[in-house]
Symmetry: C2
Subunit: 216 residues, 2 copies
């Protein structure tokens, strides 16, 4: 009983690591994952870049998926610090959608200011394996999302005739495609057109989620 039982899983060891050393591994990993995707990224190449031996890396990380997860988790926190989510307790559908719009706008601003972060985010679509690697943080996101949906349903802002996981999948799907499209086409767009489409996209999501007999 020397210290505190000591850390005996890679994850705990990584968490207890000095920030600079953690960065020594996670920075090159983030760059590689963001640019090559989960599957395309080479572990060996990351380690070479990090100047780190395999034994060392695998002492702090269980496998490739675990490393990816650690990288995303860190990036996720970075994003959340930028967004600083404010209170969210709408009483009417109008308020609900205003708050959602507000949130989306801040999200977009935050992502636009950090290309690596948004590329990393997009890497989740890369493959099923990437999604599985993030199943834990993603399920946390999903819980959060479901709370919003339930709240929205409570105040009549969101339809109740679709199973919420199906609705969620659809909304995420649409969001994903819009994100993808903007990522590839933004540069070719006039500013005004971009803003119009942005607003339109949100309306689209709203029209999907709202009860059928729309309130406007």
């Amino acid at each position: 009983m020397a210290k505190e039982k000591s850390k005996d899983t890679p994850q705990l060891r990584l968490k207890a690591l000095a920030p600079e050393k953690k960065a020594q591994l996670l920075d090159p990993a983030e760059k590689e994952f963001a640019s090559k995707g989960f599957i395309g990224a080479s572990l060996n190449s990351i380690l070479r870049e990090a100047g780190m031996s395999k034994g060392q890396a695998y002492y702090y990380v269980e496998n490739k998926a675990d490393l990816y997860s650690a990288v995303c988790e860190r990036a996720f926190h970075r994003l959340f610090k930028k967004i600083e989510t404010s209170e969210f307790s709408p009483q009417t559908p109008e308020e609900f959608w205003r708050d959602i719009q507000n949130f989306c706008e801040r999200l977009i601003v935050a992502l636009n200011g950090d290309e690596t972060l948004s590329a990393l985010g997009r890497s989740v679509y890369d493959s099923k394996q990437a999604e599985e690697a993030l199943s834990e943080p993603l399920s946390r996101l999903q819980i959060q999302f479901n709370q919003w949906v339930e709240l929205g349903q409570l105040i009549g802002a969101i339809r109740k005739d679709i199973p919420s996981d199906l609705l969620q999948a659809i909304l995420f799907g649409v969001f994903k495609e819009i994100d993808r499209w903007f990522a590839t086409n933004l540069s070719k767009l006039e500013n005004s057109e971009a803003m119009r489409l942005n607003a339109l996209s949100l309306e689209l999501l709203r029209s999907l989620a709202e009860p059928k007999q729309a309130s406007n």
Copy 2:
């Protein structure tokens, strides 16, 4: 100039191959791709199953992606023979959406009758690499799709305020998520509920694509 200049690319050689021999390679490949996805499928394992040497396979196929593409192409033809697309020349939005619904129904029936085919279809979502491997047939599909969209726009069945590739991405995305959801949840569903959701899904797609001031 012995024969006809002979086939000097793997693709042409494969196309000229006797059907049974083609099947000897493509059948095991289809099974593997459908069950393991593009990335998860093992080429070596396919060849073992097919009783075919590497040299032989690579004589008829350029690489893994090319094999996947050949498999999908063949499956695609199989699907189309089942669907037997009828004429499609609606004059009004109502007719347009009736025809679309008709098509979707036949598509669903065809897919339900061929589990391997639908699993193979779903394998496209497996990874970006899978999608890239099918870029050629997919772009043909896209052209077809765009013709429908243009026709729909002409007769006022489809909105014109969204770039058609964005609209297409969104519709595909929604379709994909619905397909996925049904693939995992169908068994748990009551028959009547399944039918209700099915109809609702189509309505959803329609509401996304229709001009904003809906006609009904």
